[in-house]
Symmetry: C2
Subunit: 387 residues, 2 copies
Amino acid sequence: MEFNYFMPTRVIMGGDCVVKNRALLGELGKKALVVSGKNSARINGSYDDVAKALAANGQTHVLFDRVMSNPTVDCACDAAELIRREGCDFVIGIGGGSPMDAAKAAAALALAAVDRAAVHGASYTRALPLVEIPTTAGTGSEVTQYAILTSQSGDLKKSIGSPVLFPRYAFLDPRYMRRLGRETTVNTAIDALSHSIEGMLTPRSSEMSNALARESIAIIAGLFDELVHMKKDDAGRAAASAAALSPEVREKLLLASTLAGMVIAQTGTALVHAMGYELTLEWATDHGRANGLLLGAFLKFVDERERAAGIPPRIPAICAALGAAGNSMTLDEFSRLLDKLLGVREKASCEQIEAWAQKSAATKNAKDAYISVQKSDIIRLFEQSLG
Amino acid sequence: MEFNYFMPTRVIMGGDCVVKNRALLGELGKKALVVSGKNSARINGSYDDVAKALAANGQTHVLFDRVMSNPTVDCACDAAELIRREGCDFVIGIGGGSPMDAAKAAAALALAAVDRAAVHGASYTRALPLVEIPTTAGTGSEVTQYAILTSQSGDLKKSIGSPVLFPRYAFLDPRYMRRLGRETTVNTAIDALSHSIEGMLTPRSSEMSNALARESIAIIAGLFDELVHMKKDDAGRAAASAAALSPEVREKLLLASTLAGMVIAQTGTALVHAMGYELTLEWATDHGRANGLLLGAFLKFVDERERAAGIPPRIPAICAALGAAGNSMTLDEFSRLLDKLLGVREKASCEQIEAWAQKSAATKNAKDAYISVQKSDIIRLFEQSLG
């Protein structure tokens, strides 16, 4: 057994935790850059809480609310420039993975003399104090040392990573998720699930990371029924009242996604994420959905390979965690469940698949796999998932 | 759900991990104080590894090998004085909980102007960089912010605690445990188990700490047979060869004890620890054994109280984690198992119990309980355990 476990972020969960713990923010400096997307941080109350906490501390802030889905290198560099121009002492990211990752990258870029073209290759040894406040329950970015940025050319999603990117604080307030619609709720839950499952299928997985992963998987598995039966309203959003998830379910989803973040902070992700990025780059498929589309086929592939190679199998522990009351879930059952959550699948052409497989096969996640993966395998996985 | 999770120590596990990761030590300064007990760090190879790693880095060290079982305030202050006199830059603790706790306290005391009489009451805001290397699998001190010190008068075991006491690094090398005898192995395993179980029964337990606790309990429960059947040699130690535990079992026990440490870093301990300290102070009962003697009766007491109060019960989750293959272990089964592990129990007089109960009832752990505990309850628990 060998592992190297590190997750130094202080994680604070609870309703109103930002305002209740504003004294912690008070120690970080005089002026904050608050990083968010266009609207959601205002709608769900998280921005108001942050503004209230900072004002009560006598701290000022500047808002950078221009983070798009799948933030670009330029976006992060713009935020970093704003930090320097305004003399901000610390950074607060509010949102799903996109604003949180942009905030993280900006906190490092503000202290690094890195050319925009070199952001992905650079190494980061310092960052401004960073606070992350998730408003979805999926990314886990609030407890990782990674920020995923899309290249300027728009054809590459890739992470920058450094221990200095671990946030100082992660504030988990499930109230910010109460009005999330079915689509976002399901997609982000699948993202979290995929983090934990993939984390168990990497060369860096360990008994330590697996312990966290099993817990995270089991929590989400216990909520599959809730997710499947969550109602859509006309706009594809959850009806606000009875159809919405209970606060307890929101809490559990948030805990599970944070646990899953702690997993990938140790292990990184696996082939599903590398492949899923291609769907997102080309089709703008939501990140969690992209993972979900690929996850079922991937698990069956790993299962076959493990059996053929006669190596200690990892799939059974995943099936056990997915099951209830001591009964494992089969991979077929899990695939059917994903189908229910995802609905009608996108279709890809042979040309698309060929091009995606070419790129996916060249990624670290593909080369790094504990079972060998060829381009032909990746083609087959895309075909099974999107054929 | 509310919690505040923090455990910033980097945990590195694996055979030869100290030497392999010596570069990490290299960043901590020029001169180390190495803190250990009299002999064991030399016998199990841990001191040699540390000396080799430091020498290879061109670092010097001073050895403070005078830590007794249940280290006193004086011991920690003496180590702190040595740090100051020798100009040490960082501290490495090697051993069971006693040397690790003494090292931890010394790292803070070296930077604090605290009178020996005020060590327990002081607050600590700085500490020298600290590395902990456990040589038993029980205390979890390598991942906590606590150091337990016995008062100068010898009648009080009490912790000092501060976030600055979290070690920078914990190196977990299960090879240091391979020659531990049955008694130490069993007692330390019980200590770890008690940490996780008590951690689930405090006001500060949360879904997050419980997730770690369940994993830790399940790992140890999976090794109950190995522990029960571990052979003694004539000196009460494990026979060196076939009778000893396998490296895999040693690894698992170490992982479980570190997970349990991560639990109590969040929750603290409960009444069992507070009561157990009395046995250790008066009889020099090994710390883990003291907890084991009290744990069975305590769980039955909590179970009764939970039922009577009609509060959400916590005992079932503990029994589930103790059980195998989806079957819970009953509290009676667990008590019988503890009996097998502990052998003949010590007997206490009514006067002793009265005095101990008086002191235990005044502790934070007793007052802090999520179920109310009276002195009369504590008397009954001592009687049931040692009557």
